[in-house]
Amino acid sequence: MARQILRCTVNDEAVEVLVRPYDTLLDALREELGLTGPKEGCGTGDCGACTVHLDGRPVASCLQLAMQARGRAVRTIEGLAKTGVLHPLQDAFVRHGVPQCGFCIPGVLMAAAALLAENPRPSAEEIRYGIAGNLCRCTGYTTMITAIDEAAGVVATARS
């Protein structure tokens, strides 16, 4: 099966990568680009572990064909922090000890980062809806919500 050339930006870097027509964006990121932050949990868009940003919006990368990302900007958890500085969300997650097994965390952080970019001061209810597409089998939601709420304060202050 002829491979196709996927040209897009991943974490602010222009990339050209050969993908098979039936590769998902998640396959391309993990297998071709070595970005193993996004995970395949369910593979059907239910768990959110594969969440990445496509043109700034959170998407389930297991449901997108790799070639559908052509010409677009992809950001994974690897590109959330600026060099040497954690994103306020990552910082809050570390301080609150949010990760337990850690499998869902890259997806949760990308969903939460998209939420804060759109709504810098979300209510607890809005935070819950913002990460409703992310399942945590360790059920560590309480500390997640606390940490996102705290990071929201930091992000909003930094903006103003």
């Binding site: 099966m1 002829a2 196709q4 098979r20 027509p21 039936y22 590769d23 998902t24 395949e40 593979g43 059907t44 868009g45 239910d46 959110g48 969440t51 496509l54 919006r57 959170p58 998407v59 389930a60 297991c62 449901l63 997108q64 064909l65 070639m67 559908q68 052509r70 969903a111 998209a114 809806y129 913002g130 409703a132 597409g133 992310n134």
Partner: protein, 318 residues
């Protein structure tokens, strides 16, 4: 009594039922099976590719329905045509002439659009209920209709707004009222070689209001047990036009025309709304499945019809 004197009472032994996995998608290898992928950039190119590959080709827009079906082996296309590169299909226009939702417009775009929320609130409400935000950023409104699940959330509000499907095919473009679009469970009027270009919704008119509600056990990431949309227009204090559309109560989404007829020309009162809600139940023929029994679904139709009509009325008066 001594412990040793105790004897277990005789009880009939329960033989456990053999376990049957109710999951209609038994999990196998979730890798996608091989297919060729076309990346057309115009509607004409798209139609050419479809004409060349016929029924073996499938269109993909958001992929949120198609990819899980392909991963689970329910659909095995040899050829997939990606619509995301066809620029005109990304158009979402909302003005005095109505609402037009291009085939590649995501549910999230519709949910967040201020004009849609103001003029077509039921459409925005339904769009906001599909999947999670990660799914809504991919899933398209048109795809939700083409997937033609009986429970499709986008169907009731668009049916209630007299929407039309604009379909391109080898013989040119045709317009099909949404009432004639669904032909069965996961079946539509779309033939091989045809492409849904956009959904066209006429303006709802002055003093009108609409609402979509569904029942789900979970608040997010669930599939409607029943979905109901109501759309009404008022004139001189009476109901000039009423539309009630239902999902997940029959093989296809459908309108409750008898209930609509009972409201038109009448004053909308709690009594007339209650009567219409009971009539709406008669339009349904629900099944019992793991989401709910037929009886529960009939009950939900009555409750949700009453609630959506009441909200639609309040919005029409506002």
């Amino acid at each position: 009594m001594l412990a040793s004197a105790w004897k277990a009472p005789d009880r009939p032994r329960r033989v456990p039922e053999p376990f049957v996995n109710p999951n209609p998608f038994p999990r196998g290898d979730l890798a996608l099976r091989r297919f060729e992928l076309a990346l057309p950039e115009s509607v004409n190119d798209c139609l050419k590719v479809l004409a060349a590959h016929g029924a073996g080709a499938r269109l993909v827009a958001g992929g949120t329905d198609l990819l899980p079906q392909m991963k689970n082996g329910l659909v095995k296309p040899a050829f997939v045509v990606d619509l995301s590169g066809v620029a005109p299909l990304h158009a979402l226009t909302c003005d005095a002439s109505g609402l037009r939702i291009g085939a590649a417009v995501t549910a999230r775009a519709v949910e967040l659009d201020a004009r849609v929320r103001a003029t077509y609130p039921a459409v925005a409400e339904a769009a906001a209920l599909i999947g999670s935000v990660q799914v809504r950023n991919l899933a398209t409104v048109a795809g939700n209709l083409c997937n033609a699940a009986p429970s499709a959330d986008m169907a009731p509000p668009l049916l209630a707004l007299d929407a039309e499907a604009v379909i391109a095919g080898p013989g040119g473009t045709r317009r099909v009222p949404l009432t004639a679009f669904f032909t069965g469970v996961r079946r539509t009027v779309l033939g091989p070689g045809e492409l849904l270009l956009e959904i066209a919704v006429p303006p709802p008119g002055p003093r009108s209001g609409g609402n979509y509600l569904r029942h789900t056990p979970r608040r997010e990431l669930d599939i409607a047990v029943v979905g109901v949309a109501s759309q009404i227009a008022l004139s001189d204090g009476v109901c000039a036009k009423a539309r009630i559309a239902l999902a997940a109560v029959a093989p296809t989404p459908l309108r409750a025309t008898a209930a609509e007829g009972a409201l038109e020309g009448q004053a909308l009162t709690p009594a007339s709304i209650e009567r219409a809600s009971r009539l709406a139940v008669e339009a349904t023929h629900p099944i019992s499945d793991q989401r709910g029994s037929a009886e529960f679904r009939r009950h939900l139709v009555q409750v949700l019809t009453r609630r959506t009509l009441t909200t639609a009325l309040a919005r029409a008066r506002a």
